[in-house]
Subunit: 369 residues, 2 copies
Amino acid sequence: VTIADKVTVQMGKRTYDIIIGSAVLESAGVYISAATSANHFVIITDNNIPESYISTIKCALNKARIDVVKIAAGESSKSFSCFNSLLDSIFETLPDRNTTLIALGGGVVGDIVGFAASVILRGIDFIQIPTTLLSQVDSSVGGKTGINNKFGKNLIGSFYQPKLVLIDIDTLKTLPKREFLAGYAEVVKYGLINDKAFFNWLDDNLDDILSMQPAALKKIITTSCKSKAEIVAQDEKESGVRALLNLGHTFAHALEHQAGYDGSLVHGEAVSIGMVMAFCLSNRLGFCSDKDIDVVKHHLVRSGLPIYPSEIKKIWDVDLLLEAMKQDKKVSDGMLVFILVKSIGDAFIQKNVAANVVRDTILQNIINS
Amino acid sequence: VTIADKVTVQMGKRTYDIIIGSAVLESAGVYISAATSANHFVIITDNNIPESYISTIKCALNKARIDVVKIAAGESSKSFSCFNSLLDSIFETLPDRNTTLIALGGGVVGDIVGFAASVILRGIDFIQIPTTLLSQVDSSVGGKTGINNKFGKNLIGSFYQPKLVLIDIDTLKTLPKREFLAGYAEVVKYGLINDKAFFNWLDDNLDDILSMQPAALKKIITTSCKSKAEIVAQDEKESGVRALLNLGHTFAHALEHQAGYDGSLVHGEAVSIGMVMAFCLSNRLGFCSDKDIDVVKHHLVRSGLPIYPSEIKKIWDVDLLLEAMKQDKKVSDGMLVFILVKSIGDAFIQKNVAANVVRDTILQNIINS
């Protein structure tokens, strides 16, 4: 057994730790007692999560009162009505202000449970136990919670920090390859934003990562969490530097929207395609070299991630993609804001990007393949 | 025209002002432009609010894009489904992060709009324009927002501070007498908690207050807001001293619950009856004198407020009242917590009060009349 890593997310009074390692679930009791004095826990998980994870956590928390609430796996659980049902299920356990929610699962579970914790009795504690690579490297840091409505994704939610995040890399063993890769796209993103050395390390160690060597997994998760934690500590409410984390995401959201959330394009794949578009847009605007685009594309292809929309489906409507970008909540006062790059590891925020250059970039990437 | 008062609520980065005076609606534009750079406002109000208030505010904000959303007056708007409808109506106005919500109305409007602002796009600004005495002296300070579900009142919500509160005492002129008195019960509460001089002032100036003299109205609202602001600044999340504001409220909530929220007993009336019970309980436990009980009762009777449950209806079930108190969310780890008084203006928090003494106190007050 290796020793677990710890990343501390500095948020003033709401500072919390992320524990990253093997067999962390088995030691959950020790970490949780150190972080909270709660004696009532509600574990919220989805029906894809192995029963053994739940029983391991229950066992680790043996002295406490524990309730378990299951939600359906998938984005549909982020509707307003499912959220209401979840709140009812939690209230049936008779929570008080010392109750702590435990989010056990992927990003959807984390988003909903964090939001539930933020609004129950005007805010109770919650702990995240993310079980997918995407949720481990992305939603475990930053306190973004939310649900969807007919106007868009994550339009209703809050900024609310967990008391503790437990990441057990062993949970990745049972994760489908495609979901692992989707999370890996976000890992690559941290290298591309502001850490060229990390990107180079990823490029040198890709085989170990794809063959799930524990040391490599711990390294990529710890580095990603640290990177995000540093950015979020500077800008909790996303008024400035935090926007860098959206590299490739404005494109990605538009692609996901047009693909229709039917499973044909998962978020991480869209981010992979979107990051390539962000590099191409930067190149078109004179900010980054052809060579950087090639290096990024080569790495993503080696990982097994898509880099062009045509790998997902043949026909895309460029004008609808552009329209969707204008609706994105990252738009401020109607201006198109993009995260661009000067080179690998040197991203920056560019406001007021001309729509026609964006259009040309999308078109080039749709045609290319 | 008199000069408006200003109370600053110290909340660190979320510090805000409360403006209290005559004709404040007419000057809303000046105050609002000083507090926010928003150029899109959504005024949310209920169907009891005079159209003239809305048009006055629209006129005062003449350069901005303004939408108006109306909800049904009354507690029923605090359901989860009405809240969802309200969010939809707000999203139809295409809000962005610079949109500011304006809550124009009583406590219900303030509670819902504050909660909506806290969850739309993970938090946008809101301004309160409370038009009832109760909302002016109570919910305008403290940032408590919330809605109801089948398990109880205000069980879902957040702590979220407004950017600005505008209190126009002229709006009280059209308020029904009964609603004015319900708000007045909370005014008396501030005297009873920690300000005997204010209680004495109220006793000396009750005629001016009841005849709605502007100077008297401004004085009671300003003093109440200051008093609450001082307490809340010390304890935003209600982990300590803020509990003093619940004087009489544990009794009141149980009475309201049993009366069934059918309009036979409004919140402020329940608070009036509950404060008398709190004095009687304190007396029974040896903390306050018979004389103090009499002085408080005499003042409340002079105001026109009820002091006994029998003034509302004849039959009350003491055991169900006790049961309801145990369900109250102010209960922590199952212990009964009460706000008691040593004398007028000297309240304190008492944990672990014996249920049988509470029962005897309720019984005595039910039988008395």
